[in-house]
Amino acid sequence: MSNKFSFIRNDFPIFSSQNGKNFAYLDFASTSQTPQSVLDAMNEYYTSYRANIHRGVYAISERATQAVEESHRVAAKFFGVNDEEVIFTKNATESLNFLAFSIGNRLKKGDEILLSRMEHHSNLVPWQQVCKRTGAVIRFIEIDREGNLDMESFDILLSSKTKIISICHMSNVLGTINPIAEISAKGHDVNAIVIADGSQSAGHMPVNVKSLRCDFYVCSSHKMYGPTGVGALIGRKELLEKMEPVETGGGMISSVTDTQSTWNDLPWKFEAGTPNIAGIIGFRASLEYLSSVGMDHISRHEKSLTLTAMRLLSSMKGLRVFGPSDGIKRGPVISFSMEGIHPHDVANMLSQRGFCVRAGHHCAMPLMAFLGQPALTRMSFGITTEGEEIDQCVAALCEIQKIFSRT
């Protein structure tokens, strides 16, 4: 493992604030942790130049405006797109809801939306609502026994009726990494709009949205070491220009009369009202932090952890790992079940030993039903995870098994 990563934890104040207790945070798929540089950037805004943007001509307002505009530029560079193609939202869920309203509402009865069976509720429920409003239907791309997308089923479902394809780049339950570029190419052959939900992938692997060839890509700052309350909707300029805004009001207009309004240029057309200025500045700081560490390094680091965890968990009797069995082909998210022990009890006992994991349906109830599991325990890794934490967590799982096998 790179020496760089042995010092990374020093950048995160939470690890030195636990009063000496064992604290192994293994729930990055839910939310990440915050480096000091992000906290400093947000604090500096509030203490040195708090003002609204695009409104005042005084110095701190100009500084705040430049900070937010620079945040768009930094995000655009990080994701490999143009500045005006980055819209800041509240989170990936809001970004998907924007798309569901702005694009989904154009659908007609009989049009089809392709989703996969591994989608998070945020990439399923908005489309269900679109279908209720428009008469369109959802068709599900199947997944195989290993949790990989069944591309044969995708090819069969794809047709001239397909108008929208919305797929997670990485599953928050299975760790599956989906072939977005291939899906985009085939989707465009039938003139479908392709959306990639990057909530799990951004921050864990290098992402170049142009290379992914999708029309839209969404993500959340809080899963990328930034603050909560900020997300990104990244879209092709020519599509964003044709879309109607979802939220209207101040900031997103060019002119307003008593009876009508015209819209501002991109990206401001889609950013109504005073945004989460401190959050956007914090998000920029997190992207700069990730760039300084290097997304390739991060991906290799987490791949190594995933391989270690897969090897240890797969060797435990009475424990079943879900998702691709080849650790190379999956992201740093591992969900599992333990025979005779409910995931909530696993998570509860791990919690008392200092390990933070998630148990439940992971906002993927249809996937749980498909897998035949009421709930699963999930561990997920990030930039601060160390191999030792995984070793100790697996040892704790063995101890839990012994406790439950006493009777």
Binding site: H344, D345, A375, T407
Partner: protein, 142 residues
């Protein structure tokens, strides 16, 4: 949040034995009411079927479900407690009574797990009260 000692106390042999071999497990028919509740946060579910006598006392009760130790053992122990009690007495039970039965303090989201059996009874009884056939059920005799 529970301390490690409290958590390990929850998973002691007596509790795990009940988890493996619960009492009153199953579905009761006929019944005065049968109701299912889920703890959507973590996947616990309880289906409770209750038979009341003419004095509105529980004469028989069963539960069916799946979930964590707290939710299922609470259900098993609480269904034992319910027998012979009136509806009103059961509606007055609280998480504290669950904690007494389990022998541990519950905190945070585990309260929802422990209280699931009580919530199931409360909502099941509400359905009976709202039903236009409530009076007919009240006269049901064993």
């Amino acid at each position: 949040m529970n301390s490690r000692n409290e958590t390990d106390a929850l998973y002691r042999e007596y509790i795990l034995e009940i988890y493996r071999n619960p009492k009153n497990f199953g579905i009761l028919r006929p019944n005065t009411f049968c109701h299912c509740e889920k703890n959507t946060y973590c996947g616990d579910s309880i289906e409770l079927s209750v038979r009341l006598n003419r004095d509105q006392k529980v004469s028989a009760v069963r539960y069916h479900g799946q979930g964590c130790v707290i939710s299922q053992v609470s259900a098993s122990l609480m269904t034992q407690t319910m027998k012979g009690k009136t509806v009103q007495q059961i509606l007055e039970l609280s998480v504290k009574d669950i904690e007494t039965l389990l022998g541990v303090h519950l905190s945070g989201i585990r309260i929802r797990c422990g209280a699931l059996i009580l919530k199931t009874f409360q909502h099941g009884w509400k359905k009976v009260e709202k039903s236009s056939r409530a009076q007919k059920y009240h006269r049901f005799r064993e």
